[in-house]
Symmetry: C2
Subunit: 342 residues, 2 copies
């Protein structure tokens, strides 16, 4: 039995699919995907979204939703935010599920660049099912980190720090508690809860002894990212090791770190410092996004957020793009995406 | 002949007086002041504002406005954003003008802390004219810089800089053109046009050879602040000296600079750098407001915006209050007021 709904255009169905996609988790090996199945005249036959690795993909969830409603999807159009996958991972290929369900056409918003998972549109076309790309800014935004990771074959890297107006991460004696206020710290915990891993150097572990957990309102978030400690120094006995979900990478090469994370299906990592680690990632062009929490504070001395990056003159500066701002109490968050892939 | 107007409460008249005050110039030795004269039953008899040093004060302008309308202000209430002055400066005392005009009561929003000009309310009361303080946030905001200057007996100091996310004012080779974008630079010119003086060190003059003019949309603004060059090095022949309105102060002591400016009736000065000059003012607690234009740029090397301020640990950091933010293109302006009077 179906409930009467207003008919949807394909574009409106894509908007709906994007809204559904956003219900999925931001972390994890798979992207957030939503799907709406349209019948003749724009009837909405089923809808679904991907709830995380090991659960059905959005297309399969939407077909199941239609079945649960007792609706026949044969001849319908699947409107999905990402190109249907063509491979068997934890679940079977979506192109097969769509074919078997008798779907007659597919519209998708983002092409899948995955070596294994991509190519679904071609498979569908070969089976006589037209697969049409219809770009959607919301779908791009929801998959931006995942897409970048898949294209680069390494986790998406967010470099995060809290600094003073004069770019210091700490005072001359190493103290840094607290540069920013509670609003900024709460925001940073929200960012942690949306990624797969948080990485710091052994220096930060030894000096600050952080828990590296994602907290919200003082409580541990439901999703805790992998804690990663980079470097050679002994940090055993520090708080970060109390959690079993910790990875030590005994290297100073950020490529080693990212390779170790990629093996663990990490798609997005927040690199939180200190300056040595941040600078190593920046110097190698391995930062995709910067989150700079800036406090209205001056120190005049103490470590700068980044060490020498090999930049000698203004025209070679690393310049952020697609910059966003967010006031957080007395602090400002500047988010910048970086064109050199940093 | 009067035009019919809706009757005003004293509070509404104060709102109106604040709006009028804002018509006046932000620069100059005198504050922005507005005045509304109310008759019986809230009739608006006259209004005026101060248009700058040497022109009538707001109260006198309002009385003149009433006269021009052929209206008798005797028995009226003067609602004025600042306590009427009690001294003869470039013009006569407003308390006398009000008394002579037969004003029966005065309401003012901000007390005048001036040694010479203050005390008007007491004089009025002694003459049997009740003078009532009614605070108004708008009136306070319009007079904030002037009031601070009068209380401290020195110009209000705005420390302004453009910096990267890592707190650099220039790259390792000294280049700094351009850290920030056109929106930030245009905003900074707007700030220059609202103050009495702009100060830089000889180092900035020698390296950047700035014009130090206030420009708007590429054109020179109507009001040009005094250009001030701080330090001992020879900067003759540089562009700043093409204008006759330049002051050289051969001292490294910010107190000498502020004393020289105070003599010239400077009430607000923008100190624009470089790091040596900015740090000298900050170190001495002589900065009232910071304007930090922050570009989404990383350099990793180059001069920091401030040198050593004698701060060794986080709890001694200079921490801004009443912080405001303004996105300007890809840059952010952070405005912070500083509790230690810096």
């Amino acid at each position: 039995m179906t409930t009467a709904r207003a008919p949807l255009s394909v574009a409106a169905a894509m908007d709906r699919a994007v809204t559904l996609a956003a219900n999925g988790p931001a972390y994890g090996p798979n992207p957030r995907v939503g799907c709406v199945i349209l019948g003749a005249e724009g009837a909405e036959l089923g809808e679904g979204w991907h709830r995380g690795a090991g659960t059905p993909h959005a297309e399969v969830a939407a077909i199941a939703d239609a079945r649960a409603r007792g609706v026949d999807v044969r001849g319908g159009t699947a409107v999905v935010t990402l190109e249907p996958c063509a491979h068997t991972g934890r679940t079977g290929p979506c192109v097969d599920a769509l074919t078997q369900a008798g779907i007659a056409a597919v519209t998708y918003a983002v092409a899948d660049p995955g070596n294994a998972s991509g190519g679904g549109a071609t498979v569908l076309e070969e089976r006589g099912i037209p697969a049409t790309l219809m770009e959607h800014a919301g779908a791009s935004a929801l998959t931006h980190r995942w897409l970048t990771a898949m294209r680069l074959g390494r986790p998406y890297v967010i470099a995060k720090w809290a600094a003073t107006l004069d770019g210091r991460m700490a005072a001359a004696d190493g103290t840094s508690v607290w540069i920013t206020g509670p609003e900024a710290r709460e925001h940073a915990h929200g960012v942690r809860a949306e990624v797969d891993a948080i990485a710091v150097g052994t220096g930060t572990v030894l000096i600050d002894d952080p828990q590296l957990s994602a907290r919200a309102g003082g409580e541990d978030a439901a999703h805790q990212p992998l804690r990663v400690v980079i470097g050679h120094r002994d940090t055993s006995g520090r708080r970060v090791w109390r959690d079993p979900n910790v990875l030590g990478v005994a290297s100073h090469d950020p490529r080693d770190v990212l390779a170790a994370l990629w093996e663990r299906e990490v798609r997005a990592v927040v690199v939180e410092g200190g300056p040595t680690v941040l600078s190593a990632f920046l110097r190698e062009g391995l930062v995709d996004e910067v989150h700079a929490y800036i406090a209205p504070v001056l120190l005049g001395a103490g470590p700068s957020v980044v060490d020498d990056l090999g930049i000698g003159t203004m025209k070679d500066a690393l310049r952020g793009e697609h910059v966003n701002f967010q006031p957080l109490g007395a602090d400002t968050l500047v988010i910048a995406h970086l064109s050199r892939g940093f």
